[in-house]
């Protein structure tokens, strides 16, 4: 767990430094690195598609109502090479997502970590495939 936390903090530090995490566009044009969020809920749908995967969570709010959240992950090819498959998680699986809120106020989160009940960090890319750029 300590390692996981250290990795999360390192990721936050990376994002806070303004370095983009995606090749597609800059992180900060879409997400706010000052607005971390944790969500727990059941997976409603998975979109294993380019340029980035999305999955959707049904999360109970304080009043017991169900709120539908969109979670954005990495590129399918990157995730595939890290060992993930489109059926690595199934509809109904409960997952705890740590990530950052979209700047436009929509119920959208860029995932940094998505912990399944069995302890797997769902759809976490293997950045070691690419040598560090700097």
């Amino acid at each position: 767990m300590k390692r996981g936390l250290a990795a999360l903090l390192a990721t936050i530090a990376l994002l806070a430094s303004g370095v983009s995490i995606a090749a597609h566009h800059s992180f900060a044009a879409q997400y706010d690195s000052k607005k971390p969020i944790t969500l727990k809920g059941g997976i409603a749908r998975i979109e294993w598609a380019n340029p980035h995967i999305y999955f959707y969570l049904d999360v109970a709010d304080a009043n017991g109502a169900t709120v539908h959240w969109a979670i954005e992950g990495g590129a399918p090819s990157t995730l595939y090479r890290a060992g993930w498959r489109k059926d690595s998680a199934k509809v109904g699986d409960v997952v705890t997502v740590n990530g950052f809120l979209a700047r436009d106020g929509s119920k959208l989160v860029n995932m940094q970590r998505a912990l399944l009940a069995d302890g797997r960090n769902l759809f976490v890319g293997n950045s070691s495939y690419y040598q560090k750029g700097h």
């Binding site: 983009s20 954005e72 590129a75 700097h134």
Partner: protein, 244 residues
């Protein structure tokens, strides 16, 4: 059209330059190669590139929500080789083809001695028009006619239609290629500048995977203006006696 004539002359001179008596067969660079992910070229350079006043102002005010690849426009030759996606290089005597996973896009490098088309400025392409030659064991590629809508990196370094890329590919081992790229753009930069990256061979059986950018590009609906460099202060380079 003096500009066109100048371009044609430059290309001819470039082709006529010492073709380094090619005796041995050039090294085989075919294969599946993995990029070094480089979202911000200035980090590798160790500083911002030598901006002109215009280039500096563009950098200061760049809005990264307007990244062309965010709306799935092609990546351009610079980002093709610096994004976190691999590519396949196919080498023939008269042509080298690069097939990039990122945006499933290609580059053709003509090695048959041709120059650049004289109407290239009227018909630019995002990946540019590339002609190459072997200088000993190094492949040297000259690329012009690069659509000015492409960016040089994810951080938001831009270029003009006058950008000229000179790339040098040199095998430094059976599984590594050293790629040196020089950016020459008199509109954005006061002088050419270069960075160096390494391509590493993939594992046997590695394959290029799909990158169909328009398939599910929901991000574009959520992009908000973001100008990270508004506090950038341009300090023009001072010329040292004797130059550098």
């Amino acid at each position: 059209m003096p500009a066109r004539i100048a371009v044609a002359i430059c290309a001819l001179l470039w082709l006529a330059a010492p073709a380094a008596a090619q005796t041995a067969a050039p090294p085989d660079m075919s294969g599946f190669w993995i990029n070094q992910y480089t979202p911000d070229l200035s980090v590798v350079l160790g500083k911002q590139p030598p901006f002109t006043e215009f280039g500096a102002e563009r950098w200061r005010t760049v809005d990264t929500a307007k990244d062309p690849t965010a709306i799935c426009l092609p990546v351009g030759p610079s980002r093709g080789f610096t994004a976190p996606f691999p590519f396949i290089l196919v080498q023939h005597d008269k042509m080298i083809s690069i097939m990039f996973e990122y945006q499933a896009i290609w580059r053709a490098i003509y090695l048959d001695g041709r120059g650049h088309p004289d109407d290239l400025a009227d018909y630019p392409y995002f990946m540019g028009h590339s002609i190459g030659k072997w200088e000993g064991d190094t492949l040297v590629v000259d690329t012009q006619g690069i659509d000015e809508r492409s960016w040089l990196d994810t951080a938001g370094h831009e270029h003009s239609a006058k950008l000229r890329l000179t790339e040098r590919f040199k095998k430094t081992g059976p599984d590594t290629i050293q790629w040196t790229v020089t950016y020459d753009d008199p509109i954005y930069f006061t002088r050419p500048w270069s960075i160096e990256r390494t391509f590493t061979r993939g594992k046997p059986g590695d394959r290029v995977l799909p990158y169909t950018c328009n398939e599910n590009n929901k991000d574009v609906e959520h992009l908000m203006p973001f100008q990270p460099n508004l506090n950038y202060k341009h300090v023009p380079e001072t010329k040292k006696p004797g130059g550098d």
